[in-house]
Amino acid sequence: MSSTAYILSMREVSKSYPGVRALDRVSMDVAYGEVHALVGQNGAGKSTLIEIIAGALHPDGGEIVYEGNTYTHLEPWQAIRLGIQTVHQENQLVEELTVAENLYLYELPVHRGGVVDYAGCRRIAQELLQKLNIHIAPEKKVRTLSFVDKKLVSIAKAFARPVKLLILDEPTASLDECGKDILFEIIRSHKAQGLSTIYISHNLSEIFEICDRVTILKDGQKVATYSLSEITMDEVIRKMIGSSQVTLYKRERACALKKDEILEVRNYSRQGVIDDVSFEVRRGEIFGLAGLVGSGRTELVRMMFGLDPKDSGTLLYRGQDITPRNPYDAIQKGIGYLTEDRKGDGLLLSRPVVENMSLASVAKDNRLLLNLSKEYQEAVMLTERLNVKTPSIFQRVVNLSGGNQQKVVLAKWLQTQAEILIFDEPTVGVDVGAKVEIYRMIEELVHHGKIVIVISSDNPELVALCDRVGVMRNGRLVTILEGDEVTEENIVRYAMGVCEGMEVSG
């Protein structure tokens, strides 16, 4: 094929953030009249890639060839003018404006003198919606629409301007069957005009239904591009996971499990978020929670810790009801929760190490005065035990590296003497050395008879660390993998809903 057959060619595009190589010399071609799928696990670099195409990010290296012109980077306005329209995963509509105003927000039709022509705006919006076969009244306020209709309006918005390359990021996540049919019809007619689409989705069956080719990304690198007629779903999954990678860490599986001392998680639900999740964690094992981002893992444990409201759900430990009403209550009852967002709700960045380490314990003990000397002793001890690299315990946490910051949060929960510990993404943004140390620490806790739940998007981490792994999808716990079943491939399969039989039983 000559290069003119491609509307877009990415050539060796790279993008780095401090400590992370988000994209590493990725090349990709999108042909005219093609629907091109982009797949990969969480953090594979899909979002970074499309943001570069849409001009929201500037690459560090490589070039973008679009319709025969070469660019080192694009600006958002430039991409839009060139006909690259992106439908983002999250709703970016102005809720208080009408559908018509949202569709033509940046090019509102005006009368002579610059006054907005609302009637004209409504008319062209009506025409556009009709053409796309979307039945929504253009004079309605976006606020009053359902999630599905909002998504359809977002999609229509891309067509309010000339569009040659349509980028869809997880478009069906908030669409029902009917909305999906409308979308696929739009994609097909777009394709029939010889125009192109980049389609990002975790739903492989959709990709096989609508797309022509697929590019697979893994850890910021391109694995390959395949024509979808020459590859199976299983093969796509295997490529996403990659070939047998060197396991960083391997732990001895737990042997002696005390059957009577279990944490029972019963019937946790919240409308539209979590759907009747129940499982048990035995003392002496590490229980993993896997799932795609947005599958409800974090929402579930936040409810378990008493942080977020729930419709139902009970926590039983040794047969006793310990369902916490709020975080304070949870801590009193021996639960610790290392949050996913270290800087957002884990650390007091402007405060010293010692205060961060003692925070939850100080809140737990109902005393009027602080016990400063005990506080210092504990901090020194924990700093040594966890090998926190800090010049002193009076150092402000903001000056520590990611791994050491995470150890400080870990120390905070160790100091409360919690019996049940929930770790949400314990090694995100942590260097390899600190990662292994955190794994060792978690393992040691289990040996001391604590109940441990680990949430992670890093599936090899779960495989290496956990005795059993519960996989969540769309707010439900679809399976619990045990023993030899705990493999990366199984986790990904269940998380993406590829196993058909399971869908029914789950």
């Binding site: 975080p327 205060e355 809140a363 602080l370 010049p391």
Partner: protein
Amino acid sequence: MAQGFSAVFRKRAPIEQAYILLLLIVAISVVTTIVNRRFVNPTNIINIFQQIAVLGIVASGVGMLLVSGHVDISVGSQVSLLGVIFAMLIQKILGLPEGNVAPWRQTFVYPIAFALTFGIGALVGFVNGVTVVKSRANSFIISLGFMSAYHGLALLVTGGASYMLFGRFETLGRGRLFHYLPISILFFLGVVILSYLILKYFRYGRFLYAIGSNRRAAHVSGINTDRVVIRAYTVVGILNALAAIILISRVGSALATTGDAYALDALASVIVGGVALSGGKGGALNIFLGVVLIGLIGNALIIMNVNPYARDLVIGLIIIAAVTLSQLSESRS
């Protein structure tokens, strides 16, 4: 290595801020002394402290609140309102100075006046705190609303006139221990020391820092953040009651606007002192030095024969400079 260096530097940062303030205070004192010898006179120094006593009490409450990342700009109106209530109670119970006063009135006037003023002070602070916490709105805007509301309330209570004490109850504001040390200074220092102890040694003080540094992390760690913030506002109200009583005792009468200026001055003191606007930083020493600096500037301008109206201009510029500098050093790190 680089991290090690910056670490050492950072740990000293808060102390350095106090040094800078001390340096500034010394510099202003030296310049003022050169212009006018009277400045270093012990009488003048004591005078300055007496003048800043009320401000210092108000600023201690505001400072501790700001450590938690919350602002109350209604403190000026609160002091005015509480002062008016205190003076009104005394005047209503004791009547005009010529009249005969029943003995029970003589006995109970001060307990009643104190109890009600402190009670209303606590209530006012509590209401502010609950509103800020429950509305989840910006505390600056909420307290702006209360500033106007309390001002209006004070006007309603006085009807635009003033309540006089007719020379009664002068001891607290004007009295001197051993005919030398003003009693109000003792209250000021007492409140500062109490603030120091609370912020450093009390669980409640630690909670204030935690909430100011990261409210969500504090919540996850088991701190009832709403309750702590409401308490901090209540403390502000109680300290304002004390400030109002001392102020009215010194001035001898109460207008609906008597305490209004304390809102700006108290906030200026704690910000200039180095309590971060975003919360989580600063201590009682910072509050104290900030108050001294603000008080000093007013006094120095008078001593140096500068037009006293220039005071607000100078203080305004100093606030802008202090916030700009701390913002710059913040964004650098």
